[in-house]
C-alpha cells in the first residue's frame, strides 16, 4: 500500500505533505493516532483525522493535494469532514453571489 501506516494500523497517511490521515479502524476519543496526537472524538473507518492544527481557511491536504479548505479551526485529533472542511470547486452558489473562487 502506498503511504505510511500509523501505529498498528489505526490510520494511513497517503503523502508526506498531508495534514490529515485516513482512519483504518473506527477510532474513539483518546485513541493514539501519531506521536503525541490522540483522537479527540470518534472518527469512523475511512474518515479523516487531523494530524496538525489547521486554521480556518487553511488548505486541507490529502494525497499531497488540496482537497478543500477548513471552514473552522481544526485541532489535531479532530474528525475532518463536511462540518469543518469545504470544497472550493463547482460552487455555483458562490458564483451567484459574485464571490469568485480563488
Amino acid at each position: 500500500m502506498k503511504g505510511e501506516v500509523l501505529g498498528d494500523g489505526v490510520g494511513l497517511v497517503l503523502h508526506a505533505d498531508d495534514n490529515v490521515a485516513t482512519a483504518l479502524q473506527d477510532l474513539e476519543a483518546q485513541d493514539p493516532i501519531d506521536g503525541d496526537t490522540t483522537a479527540v472524538e470518534s472518527v469512523p473507518f475511512g474518515h479523516k483525522v487531523a494530524l496538525e492544527p489547521i486554521a480556518d481557511g487553511d488548505e486541507v491536504v490529502k494525497y499531497g493535494e488540496v482537497i478543500g479548505r477548513a471552514s473552522g479551526s481544526i485541532a489535531p485529533g479532530e474528525w475532518v469532514h463536511t462540518h469543518n472542511c469545504e470544497s472550493t470547486r463547482g460552487r455555483g452558489d458562490l458564483a451567484e453571489e459574485g464571490v469568485a473562487e480563488s
Binding site: L12, L14, L24, P44, H47, D93
Partner: protein, 396 residues
C-alpha cells in the same frame, strides 16, 4: 506481461469476449418488449432497455443513436435486432445500417407494422433464435491482451476506493497498456480537483486543452444553474463513506486509470481505439450511463470498483466488481469478483493489481463475473439535459 484468450473474431477484425445477440429498442415504448424477446429467446440474447422517449431534441436524439449503434457494434455482439414501435424520431433502419458496418447480421422489427406486441415478440424470438444458432458458427480464435479495450468505472465510492480498489485497478490498466491494450476511464465531474494531474500526463496539447475544457464545462453547468455541486458531489453515500469534497473524490477516482500517459479523450459513446493506451471519455458521473458509454465505445470488459457495494452489471460487457472495503467484501462477497481490501491489511499493490489483471484474463477467456451469474444487466443512456444543450449553444 500479456495474456491470451479465446475470443470471437468479428468481420471488422475486432475480437469479442462474449457472443451475444443484442435486442436494441429505439425508445422506452418498446423496452419491455425487447426484454420479453430476450427472455423468450433464451440464454445469449440480451436486451438493452432504456428510458429515452420517442422524440428528443436533435442533439439528445443523436446521442441516443450513437449509443444504440455503438452498443450494436461492440465486438461482444454477434448479431442484433433493432426494435421500434414505429413512431420514434429515431430511424431503426439507420441504426441497423450503422451496426451492420461492423459486418454482423442485423434485422429491424417494427411493432406497429407486424401487428402489435404478440406478433412482435414471436417474430423477435424467431429472429433472435436463428441469430443465436448462427452465432455458434462464429470463428473462435486465440487473441492476446493487446486487443482488449478495458473500461474502468467506480460507483458507490468510499474512502477505501482511493486507497485500495482504484489503485489496484490502475495497476491492471498499467499492465494491460504495457501489453499493448487500451484502458479507458471517464466521469468528467470526477476529474474536478484532479484535472491538473491528468493534464500534466496528456501526450499532446490538443488532448490537454480538450480535457481542461470539458472539466470547465462540467463545472460551469453547476454555476450556470446557480447551484452548489456539494449537494450532489460527493453523494450522501460517498460522504457517509468518508469522502468530504469533490476534489478528494476525484483524486481517489483518477488512480483507477493507472499511471501511463493520457493518449486522448473521446466524447460520450464515441469509438475507442484498439491498442490505444490510456484514453479518457467525457461522460457524466452516473455510473450506469458511464459504463454504457464505454461499452458503446467498444469496451469488451469493464472493471467497476465499489467501496460501498454496488451490484450493477451490463447486458453486453462482463463487469468485474472490485472492492477495497473489507466489510463490503464480507457482507457482499457473492456480488464481488476481486477483494482489494487486503491492501489495507498489507498485501502489495502489485499482488492485488495482479489479481485484477488475472481476473480480466480469465473473464476474457469466458469466466463469468458475479454480475453475469446473477444476470445483473443495468442499462441506461445519458440524456443531454436542456441546460447542457444550452451550455453547448453558448460555447458553440
Amino acid at each position: 506481461m500479456t495474456f491470451t484468450f479465446t475470443g470471437y473474431r468479428r468481420p471488422d477484425g475486432r475480437i469479442g469476449v462474449r457472443n451475444h445477440v443484442a435486442v436494441l429498442p429505439t425508445s422506452v415504448a418498446v423496452s419491455s418488449i425487447a426484454e420479453r424477446i430476450a427472455e423468450t429467446a433464451g440464454d445469449g440474447v440480451r436486451a438493452t432497455p432504456h428510458q429515452m422517449g420517442t422524440s428528443q431534441p436533435d442533439r439528445a436524439r443523436e446521442q441516443t443513436e450513437q449509443v444504440l449503434a455503438g452498443v450494436g457494434k461492440n465486438p461482444n455482439v454477434a448479431a442484433a435486432i433493432v426494435l421500434e414501435l414505429g413512431t420514434e424520431s429515431i430511424d431503426a433502419d439507420a441504426i441497423a445500417d450503422e451496426v451492420s458496418k461492423s459486418g454482423i447480421p442485423v434485422e429491424t422489427l417494427s411493432v406497429r407494422s407486424v401487428g402489435g406486441t404478440g406478433p412482435a415478440i414471436e417474430q423477435g424470438r424467431e429472429t433472435a433464435t436463428a441469430f443465436r444458432r448462427d452465432s455458434e458458427d462464429v470463428r473462435r480464435e486465440e487473441a492476446d491482451a493487446s486487443e482488449i479495450v478495458f473500461g474502468v468505472e467506480c460507483g458507490g465510492s468510499d474512502a477505501t476506493s482511493g486507497i485500495a480498489a482504484n489503485p489496484a485497478v490502475g495497476e491492471a490498466c498499467d499492465r494491460l497498456i504495457e501489453a499493448g491494450g487500451t484502458a479507458c476511464f471517464s466521469e468528467t465531474p470526477e476529474f474536478i480537483g484532479a484535472e491538473h494531474i491528468l493534464a500534466d500526463r496528456c501526450t499532446d496539447e490538443e488532448t490537454r486543452e480538450r480535457l481542461l475544457n470539458r472539466v470547465d464545462q462540467r463545472e460551469a453547468q453547476a454555476e450556470l444553474m446557480g447551484v452548489d455541486l456539494r449537494g450532489a458531489q460527493p453523494t450522501p453515500g460517498n460522504q457517509e463513506g468518508g469522502l468530504t469534497t469533490i476534489e478528494e473524490k476525484s483524486l481517489g477516482a483518477i488512480v483507477k486509470g493507472g499511471t501511463t500517459p493520457v493518449e486522448g479523450m473521446v466524447d460520450y459513446a464515441e469509438p475507442l481505439p484498439v491498442g490505444g493506451g490510456l484514453v479518457l471519455m467525457d461522460t457524466p458521473g452516473y455510473d450506469v450511463e458511464s459504463v454504457v458509454g464505454k461499452v458503446a465505445g467498444g469496451a469488451q470488459i469493464i472493471a467497476f470498483t465499489t467501496g460501498r457495494g454496488s451490484t450493477t452489471g451490463n447486458p453486453i460487457a462482463p463487469v468485474i466488481k472490485v472492492t477495497g472495503n473489507p466489510r463490503t467484501w464480507d457482507r457482499m462477497a457473492s456480488n464481488m469478483d476481486v477483494n482489494a481490501s487486503t491492501i489495507v491489511e498489507g498485501d502489495s499493490m502489485s499482488e492485488v493489481g495482479g489479481r485484477v489483471y488475472e481476473t480480466m484474463a480469465a473473464v476474457a477467456d469466458g469466466r463469468r463475473t458475479a454480475a453475469e451469474h446473477r444476470r445483473l444487466e443495468e442499462f441506461a443512456i445519458n440524456e443531454l439535459q436542456p441546460n447542457e444543450l444550452a451550455a453547448e449553444g453558448i460555447r458553440g
